[in-house]
């Protein structure tokens, strides 16, 4: 049988964002996998250089729709480190709370999508229904469902209303019960285990070698979590567990995410009960950030997020580099894809919880007829960036 190339993407019902995975299949088995990124590049890092530190905060909120808080917190930690600002403890707790609520909402979203990929639409409907509890809490605290915009340099913009805390705790209780139910479903429903078990195998050694991160790596038994390795925000003061699972497959990733959701609910409950009193932001924040550079690490729902910020002492960042977790997970994903079945490709790609808009790097313009490539040069791109601002 001749080689058949099956394209997954750039437009495909299994992908939410445009990206191309070219699978060479032999019957039902994938013998080679190739990916092309660059369909969703927006030149964010470049445009950050034309904005002030505060404006960049709101720009970076829009890097990703799901982990919007992750990117801003990661960025702002770097900025605050350069400026030498220490934010009030209450602000730290609120940032942590939003981060954990975001993790719950992201993991439940993933659970639903994973269910949909394997034709288990009931799981999709149930987990998205329960996700609304978190979305409602987020909306009440921040005013928004997705781009929360709670961070500001030197603290947070909004306080948590004291009289609402009981309602939030009640909602979290319901959510914990539902997550317990999902754990039960995951372990007891036969087709789910049959479909996810042993699929897209990534051994512990390979995971370390190819630098996988987040729940993807933790499901392969690698105990990596920035919240433990380099605690930031309020994490040093909060008791919680690091979840790992050693089945090294998609089933393990589902279990890790569900258990992490339960862990996050516990963190949220701890924060709501132990909110330190005081201010939520610093009174005086400098507009100009002094010269210097900083790297900030943050455990986003999808894995380790790294931001590098460099200031020249002006109002605008000289460089604000983003390294999203999906980028780091892609090599291991493509490696594990080889040898698995084509039926598993969508769920395998979805199992890392990919976010391509965070990841996209370069734009390659290719002429289909001649096969010639032409790259967009930095000069043209910067011209484009300047033009876009006017």
């Amino acid at each position: 049988m001749a080689e058949v190339k099956i394209p997954i993407g750039p437009q495909h019902p299994a992908l939410e964002e445009p990206e191309l995975f070219l699978l060479t299949v032999d019957g039902e088995q994938i013998v080679d996998a190739e990916m092309r990124i660059g369909y969703n590049h927006r030149g964010m890092e470049k445009s950050a250089e034309f904005r002030t530190f505060m404006q960049t905060l709101y720009l970076y909120e829009r890097i990703c729709g799901i982990c919007s808080h992750s990117h801003t917190t990661c960025y702002i930690q770097a900025v605050e480190e350069i400026a030498g600002l220490e934010i009030p403890p209450r602000a730290k707790y609120i940032r942590t709370l939003i981060a954990e609520l975001e993790r719950i909402h992201s993991h439940l979203l993933w659970l639903g999508i994973a269910g949909h990929e394997i034709g288990f639409d009931t799981l999709f409907m149930y987990s998205w229904r329960d996700r609304e509890f978190v979305q409602d809490i987020l909306e009440e605290i921040t005013g928004n469902r997705v781009n929360y915009a709670i961070n500001t340099i030197g603290g947070v913009r909004r306080d948590i209303p004291e009289n609402k805390i009981d309602d939030y705790l009640k909602a979290l209780d319901i959510l914990e019960e539902r997550c317990g139910y999902y754990t039960k479903v995951a372990f007891e429903e036969g087709t789910l285990a049959a479909r996810l078990g042993g699929v897209h195998y990534l051994s512990k050694e390979k995971a370390i070698e190819l630098c996988a991160c987040g729940p993807f790596a933790r499901a392969s038994g690698v105990a990596t979590d920035v919240r433990f390795e380099e605690p930031y925000l309020a994490y040093p003061e909060i008791p919680f567990n690091l979840i790992t699972y050693d089945s090294c497959d998609i089933f393990g990733r589902a279990v890790v995410r569900i258990l992490e959701t339960i862990e996050s609910i516990k963190i949220c409950r701890y924060i709501l009960k132990n909110l330190p009193p005081g201010e939520i932001k610093l009174e005086k924040v400098p507009k100009k950030i002094p010269e210097g550079e900083a790297v900030s690490r943050y455990e986003a729902p999808r894995g380790e997020d790294i931001h590098y910020v460099r200031s020249n002492g002006g109002e605008k960042p000289y460089r604000a580099k983003v390294r999203a977790p999906t980028m780091q997970n892609l090599p291991a994903t493509m490696e594990s894809l080889k040898g698995s079945y084509i039926a598993d490709a969508p769920i395998a790609i979805a199992s890392i919880d990919p976010c391509f808009s965070c990841t996209d790097r370069i734009a390659v313009v290719r002429d289909i007829r001649s096969g010639k490539e032409s790259r967009v040069r930095l000069r043209d791109l910067s011209k484009y960036g300047k033009g876009g601002r006017r």
Binding site: V4, K5, I6, P7, H12, P13, A14, V25, E28, G115, H116, E117, I118, G119, F120, D121, T122, L123, M125, Y126, R129, E189, T191, L192, A194, R195, Y341, I342, A343, D344, A345, P346, I347
Partner: protein, 312 residues
Amino acid sequence: MTAELVQILLFPGFVFLFAYAMFVEWFDRKAYALMQNRVGPPWFQPFADFIKLMAKEYIIPKRANPVFFLALPTGILAFVLTTIVCIPVASNKAMYSFEGDILVVAFLLTAASMVIFLMGWFSNNPFTIVGGTRAISQMISYEVPLLFALLTPAIMAGSWSIAEITAFFRANPILLIFQIPALIIALIALQAKLERVPFDIPEAETEIVGGPLAELSGRGLALFHLATDIEMIVGVTLLANLFLGGFSSNIAIGLIEFFVKTLALVFILTAMRTVMARVRIEQLVLFCWHRLVPAALVQVLIAVLIKGWWLT
């Protein structure tokens, strides 16, 4: 002549099947939605979908074979509609009953599955071809246990005619208990035949974008969906006849029996697709050959023993 024409065109022929197909699709979708905590569609939604699709443009892709692309949707509809000639609907008599009509029905349903493969093959698109080959692998897996399951009542009744089998079981309802395993096997195989979750492997929209139906549009898609709905009715009616004692000769009681029995079976099929995830093709093949076929063989053996010792 007029009476037959009325039977073919009105009841239980085209008009009735069309209306009931729309109702059953709504019933299926609504029950599915309610079990998933959703509102679900209004009762006229399947009909509205059908009219909308009929009004849309029918695009024939450049790479597809135009003759087959135009003919196959009509073909599958013809195959599933023809089966109704041999199956008693809401009555104890079929339009034309003869010795061996159960095999004719089985053949026509297999031909309908074959059309799905041909549709994928002649659409000539990577997704449709993969979907078509999956449809064939799926077919050779579920077809054998399905036929064994249909064989059980035929052996017990000692007849190859659906109407006679039904009459036999109405006379000896106690024997229905001994073929409950066959009913379960037949329901699972029917779910696979209808390509519904957990066996919607050939369609699998998140993997191969709808499989054999990927290139279909407009009228063709509408006819294909209608054919699938009618296939479901035909399937559950056949099972109700063979395994649930069929329907009374009295038209009113017969109709009530028909609706209760078919909707109960449809509900089981709906519940099956609510609580399960899609399996992989090789898992289905293994499941069919390692679990269903041995179970069906044991069931046939039981039927033979009962026939040999009890009924003679």
